[in-house]
Subunit: 211 residues, 3 copies
């Protein structure tokens, strides 16, 4: 059954979905800063496309994919606008932001690692590109909005991206086929992130000695 799916199409749709949820999370951060609708569009688009943009600059895949095809930017602008009008109706914007961010993180850690594999990078570098793609959009969002980095919060943020990318790489090298590898990595990352959010899991934070 899995063979029937057109893989590149699937990855493309997942990529668009990841961009969309990150754009929502960016727009919700703009809401916290009380920006106007164009601020929403700027921060939403930066968050949606930021991780993939930094990944492609580092890999030298220029000009950017979103310069050539206007769909990606158009999608982010549209989603950010919708968020501007819908956000006041959300019961909990903070909760929505966290879960949107979790889904985007879980998708992008896999697609980032996948692209690095296609470029022939070593495994440790592929995991890094999973982390870069998954976290740098959110890092950009937090730096631009002047919030404390999501990184310095608990809840296994970078860990999830490492786990998702590693599971994907493992399945990829076991030869399970890309569809299973992609879903396996995505589900591993999302499950761990969900558990971390729900039960407040965390790695031990660094403790300063005697104080």
């Amino acid at each position: 059954m899995f063979e029937l799916l057109d893989l590149s199409l699937l990855v493309n749709w997942l990529g668009l979905f990841g961009i969309a949820v990150f754009a929502v999370s960016g727009a919700l951060d703009a809401a916290r800063k009380h920006m106007d609708i164009l601020g929403f569009m700027l921060i939403g688009t930066l968050t949606g496309l930021g991780g993939g943009t930094i990944r492609d600059v580092l890999l030298g895949k220029l000009p950017m994919y979103w310069v050539i095809d206007g769909t990606y930017v158009g999608l982010c602008l549209l989603i950010s606008c919708i968020t501007y009008f819908v956000a006041p109706k959300l019961a909990s914007r903070r909760k929505t932001l966290i879960w949107m961010d979790a889904i985007g993180l879980s998708l992008f850690c896999v697609t980032g690692a996948q692209i690095a594999v296609q470029e022939g990078a070593a495994p440790v570098i592929c995991v890094c590109f999973g982390v870069i793609t998954a976290t740098f959009g959110g890092i950009l969002r937090d730096v631009l909005c002047g919030f404390d980095l999501v990184l310095s919060q608990r809840e296994l943020y970078v860990t999830n991206a490492v786990v998702g990318a590693t599971v994907y790489l493992g399945l990829h090298w076991l030869g399970t086929g890309e569809t299973i590898a992609v879903f396996g990595g995505f589900i591993a990352a999302l499950a761990l992130r969900s558990a971390a959010i729900i039960w407040g899991l965390s790695l031990p934070a660094y403790q300063s000695p005697k104080k």
Copy 2:
């Protein structure tokens, strides 16, 4: 008469002027942070060249234009030094900064869009490159100096860049000739920004529900 102007020369001079005013605005932010003269030069140069640099990285126009031709960096360094000595004599540094920033913004939204048009990008992407070129130098400046983003202030900041780039694109596609299109976009952006500064115009900021 317009045909008599050497267009590429004109655009080049306008570009240098935009870089210079952004360098002044960066150096004035360094003044607010009480940096030394080399801090002025660093922040001034980053602000002057930052927007165009990010634009060219995304378009894959590497190595950077300012690596090949030392004029741009030299200009920023010179302007930043002059600002270091002149700033104490300014009646209102804050006001100077705002107006320098307004002129730079209005110039760069047009030249950014123009370069994207030359690369054959779709209209929505051309407007984005206008916004990127116009605002990212200032965003870099604010992030590095630890100030609240100019974005989250009122006064139509991103809006101006969108309007300037759109007017330029409209005139360009109407076939008015580049000189008129460039000046039209510049004047539209500057007029709107001036009105916004003087009368405090703004788009409605996002309002949190019931609070």
Copy 3:
């Protein structure tokens, strides 16, 4: 005797050493933010590779050297992990951070200028690349951790990078041979930085008029 050293090997080792000390400084900043071990690895790696990465993007040397060769990322990850466990035992983490940063700064201002010379850039641009390579890793670290920029502190931060790069360029153009030029630049930068740290040297900070 100097001719006996294999220069490219030497520069490679110095580069690795510079990356390692910057990774330590990044990891120590992560300690100040009480991050978990993966936060240490992320901030350590970003600080170690950030300056060189921005340099190579601007020069168009893509894909990144550390994408092709996993050694650099592996080194940063390893060093950051070790720092996580060793940091509590350091008598003064703050002091260690400052000196690690000083060594990294002094090495990278020279290697950055050297790479720009190899690309045929003008002298002022070569000095800029020395500054970019030496300071942007630390700037990234400070922005991501939400600390005040090391730039806005006294102690001649940018000045050291300028001096190191300039001494290297001077010796290079005098034809002393690369080994002497590299060491001369490194020692000049480190001596000045040490003096600045020990005796609190600084350039005059910008003073606001009448206040």
